[in-house]
């Protein structure tokens, strides 16, 4: 089936089999391998991407369901190659990643939180990432990173 969508600001058109998941489409057809696949059945959150403004699990969507949608992946959150978004920079600053497997999903979940709330409480942050598993960090530095990014974004604005 023919699908047309916008991924990280670029229009793409592809023929896909209906059973192709959105995450496999992004990774295998578009070579956007920044989005990770952990469990492939909606448990870990590693595959989170933003679809039409909201974070979703891309293993729980078929690519055909994203026809016409606007998708942002981890590759689309910075201002181009070699630059870091405020969140990516804060993750680096506070050591919020070890193996990095969960990181793209964590950042996507946090991007969607900060887009709606630029002054989140610790509770808000924990709720935003409650669907994302990390087997390394113990989460504390991830929460710190998101709070730091929010602060930096607010300061940059004022």
């Amino acid at each position: 089936m023919r699908i047309e969508l916008t991924v990280n600001g670029k229009r793409v058109a592809h023929d896909v089999e209906p059973r192709l998941s959105l995450v496999d489409f992004l990774r295998d057809e578009l070579d956007l391998t920044g989005t990770h696949v952990g469990c492939e059945h909606g448990v870990c959150g590693a595959c989170s991407v933003i679809v039409d403004g909201d974070a979703v699990r891309s293993c729980l969507m078929f690519a055909v369901q994203a026809d016409g949608a606007e998708v942002t992946t981890i590759e689309g959150v910075g201002n181009g190659p070699g630059t870091l978004s405020a969140l990516q920079d804060a993750f680096w600053e506070t050591h919020a990643l070890q193996c990095g497997y969960c990181t793209p999903g964590m950042i996507i979940a946090a991007e969607s939180l900060l887009a709606q709330n630029d002054n989140p409480s610790d509770q808000d942050i924990r709720e935003a990432i409650e669907g994302n598993l990390c087997r390394c960090t113990g989460y504390v530095q991830i929460v710190e990173a998101i709070a730091l990014a929010a602060r930096n974004i607010r300061e940059a604005r004022s």
């Binding site: 209906p18 059973r19 059945h41 293993c59 969507m61 369901q65 409650e130």
Partner: protein
């Protein structure tokens, strides 16, 4: 974990949906948010031959307010319901329950209707629908049919929806009055997981906010479908809902339950925790109502 091949169709109106579902030669499944169906397909526990995606049918996407109900279209996402001022105002119990449903990524896709059709015994939305006495409006090629949620739910993961029927909308009776309150409490293993046991309560007090004039108190996760605790409700009607009265009343509820054991908890644990959660939900609803007194 990849789904088996299937055919995908995306009808634009309800008539076409019903037409597609009426073809019994092919095993069709309706997909809306897909947050339960897609993992089942990935694990090959479901292998429909055809998916009928109903999310492009405009008439299924609305939240409509009538004089005494809020009608939620079959494709309304859990996240949209969570953010809806109309639901916040008229269905405060649903507003309280929704943040407990999955997490942001699944609520952004999952629908209210999909959760009810999936009929998981621990699902918060199913529990809320039973507590509030929701009605489901279904449509097939033979015409419309409306069914009360308690008749719709047959058993765990089983409903009375026919293969050729599509859910169109769910009617929730409006509950917010100046004398009403609600409570929702659950225990789970992790914040975003399904509840192990959950309790939901919607009640009304008299004008002076002293005596209980109506109460709907329901437990999910301790039986195959959520149960109304009739004895508890009867013993609290007309009472002042003191902590002691509530404590005594919830012991009836525990006797009514014969919960199952599973990997998450034993039946015995569920029974004990159900009574305690029900007491907390009733107190929360009572305090919610009394604290509202000056707000209106």
């Amino acid at each position: 974990m990849k789904s088996a091949p299937f055919e995908y169709v995306r009808p634009q109106n309800l008539h076409d949906v019903c037409q597609l579902l009426s073809d019994s030669a092919i095993d069709s499944r309706v997909i809306a948010g897909g947050q339960t169906l897609v993992p089942l397909m990935a694990m090959r526990l479901a292998r429909p031959e055809r998916l009928v995606d109903i999310t492009h049918v405009d008439e299924l996407a609305d939240i409509v307010e009538t004089e005494d109900t809020i009608r939620i279209g079959a494709c309304v996402r859990q996240r949209s319901a969570e953010r809806s001022p109309v639901i916040h105002q008229h269905l405060p119990l649903l507003s309280k329950a929704l943040p407990n449903v999955g997490h942001q990524q699944t609520r952004n896709r999952g629908t209210i209707g999909g959760s009810i059709c999936n009929a998981d015994p621990t699902a918060e939305i199913v529990l809320t629908a039973v507590t509030l006495g929701a009605t489901l409006n279904l449509q097939s090629i033979n015409g419309p049919r409306s069914v009360c949620v308690t008749d719709f739910l047959v058993d765990a993961m089983e409903t009375s929806i026919a293969d050729n029927e599509c859910l169109v909308s769910i009617d929730f009776p409006k509950t917010r009055t100046k004398n009403s309150g609600c409570g929702f409490v659950e225990v789970n293993a992790r914040a975003s997981d399904y509840a192990i046991v959950a309790a939901a309560v919607s009640l009304t007090l008299d004008e002076r906010h002293e005596k209980c004039t109506h109460i709907s108190a329901c437990i999910g996760g301790a039986s195959s479908v959520p149960v109304m605790t009739a004895e508890t409700q009867n013993s609290l009607l007309g009472s002042e809902l003191t902590d002691q009265e509530i404590e005594a009343a919830v012991s009836h509820a525990a006797r009514q339950l014969t919960p199952m054991d599973d990997v998450h908890a034993s039946g015995m644990y569920r029974k004990r925790v159900a009574a305690e959660l029900l007491a907390r939900a009733i107190r929360e609803a009572r305090d919610d109502c009394r604290s509202d007194r000056h707000a209106h």
